[in-house]
Amino acid sequence: MIEIKNVGKTFNSGGKGLEALRDISLHIKAGEIFGIIGLSGAGKSTLLRAVNRLGEPDSGEIILGGTDVTKLGPGELRSLRRKVGMIFQHFNLLSSRTVSGNVAFALEVGKWPRKDISRRVAEMLELVGLSDKADSYPSQLSGGQKQRVGIARALANKPSVLLSDEATSALDPKTTQSILALLEDINRKMGITVVLVTHEMGVIRQICHRVAVLEAGKVAEIGNVRDVFMRPKSRTARELLSHLPRMSYDVDKLPKEPGKPVVTFSFNGGTADQPIISRAIKTTGAEINILSGEIDNLPASQVGSLTVQLAGTEEEIAGALSYIRSQNVETEVIWNG
């Protein structure tokens, strides 16, 4: 769907060149929700804005639905942009127009016949749940409502791709949840490809299928969200994950009894719903005492981790661990004395 090939971009600031993107290549599949995450300055917004050429890349190709975006003339570029919706961190709504007027703006630009505009506006406001605010001005709306208008406006021209530039970063956690749920819903119902830039791992976790982690203008890691969350390879991914409210065990507070090791089990999608623990207890006779745990719901699967204390004879404990490992669960011994 979107093929980014060897894209590079350098900003000139005060005589010094700042390499924002260095030879980035990645493929975004049709219909997926693709996340781009990184610390500030990693180049994630620059990459996103290269897709609709809000920011011109210096080199490389961006193939969108068969055409190389970087080679389009002004007129062709405008028609392409009508098929690529975009939402922004600060919503960017016209204060001089009502909610309806803001959505109508996209349709006017998209050259819709005047008679069809009001019907389409009503349809879009219905989709985002703002039908009752049609005649309000943006200054009368909350942040979440403003972003809903932004989404309605971005989708009005029936785009095949929606670009989201930190769309939830200015919202409180609860509103963020509802906006993400709306985006996920739209992705599922309309099959629209969503490319989402964020600096929050929580956003990636909630709705993305795949994620690319950017580090200093390069792709540090790319993969299924589950894999990146389970086994983050890049420093950035690990650092960003550390800010999430993960299952946290405090090593000092763990029970430390001789012969009773403390172990963390990491479950991935295929095993999180299996009764592995109870089977391990039944088949080996070891005792397993659960200390803490968490299950994350990812769009495609569940991942979880569990910290437990094992008790029993050495044989029983070793047997329980090897059974659990045989079930594709990763184990990490945290304390053993």
Partner: protein, 218 residues
């Protein structure tokens, strides 16, 4: 002057002349300055139709015109007034220098009002596939409307001030009246009356401008 009716009779024609001069000068200044302001905004660095050369030339012209003291500009423009109106004396002739003096002012007012529009809005419009024309007339101008109304108010008031000066060299109007009676004939009451009429005019225009600006901002 002891007769109030006589004073009113004396003021009527110059008041009318001032209104006439101010109205048409504002109209022509806006017709020239508004497009110029828009071109300045879109052609400047990082504008939607960036053109450094054009910007520098227009920017220079605006600065030069604004540097002229009005009274000098008026004399310099006598030949133009004669060409356009057929004479250099009178209210209609004064409209030419008044409009030309105010046009670069209007251009700057428009430029600064449009520059205040959040760049994010322009970006959003670009992302939707808007043409430069759509960005100017559907985003920049409507979004800047409250500032534009206040700027236009400022222009009208400035032109009232200039028109009094135009009066001093044969332009007619309230300024002319004040100079002739108040200064040359020591009839202070006529001078005061003329000034009061000007004050009332300025107050009314500022009040109307503020009210209109409030109405168009959301």
């Amino acid at each position: 002057m002891d007769n109030l009716a006589e004073l009113a009779g004396l003021l009527a024609t110059p008041t009318w002349e001032t209104l006439y001069m101010v109205f048409f000068s504002t109209l022509f200044a806006t017709l020239m300055g508004f497009p110029l302001g828009i071109v300045l905004v879109v052609s400047e660095k990082d504008g939607i139709l960036e053109n450094e050369y054009l910007y520098r030339v227009l920017d220079g012209i605006v600065n030069v015109l604004r540097s002229f003291p009005f009274i000098i500009l008026m004399i310099v423009l006598f030949p133009l007034s004669r060409f356009v109106v057929g004479t250099t004396i009178g209210t209609t002739a004064s409209i030419v220098p008044l409009a030309i003096a105010a046009a670069p002012f209007v251009a700057r007012v428009v430029e600064s009002a449009l520059k205040e529009v959040d760049h994010g809005l322009v970006e959003a419009a670009v992302s939707m596939g808007s043409s430069p024309k759509e960005i100017i007339f559907k985003v920049l101008v409507p979004e800047a409307l409250p500032s534009l109304v206040l700027g236009e108010t400022l222009t009208v008031i400035n032109i009232i001030g200039y028109s009094a000066m135009a009066g001093a060299i044969g332009g007619g109007g309230l300024g002319d009246l004040a100079v002739r009676y108040g200064f040359h004939r020591f009839q202070t009451d006529v001078l005061i009356a003329a000034v009061i009429v000007i004050i009332v005019m300025v107050q009314a225009i500022q009040g109307a401008g503020n009210a209109l600006a409030r109405r168009v901002s959301h």
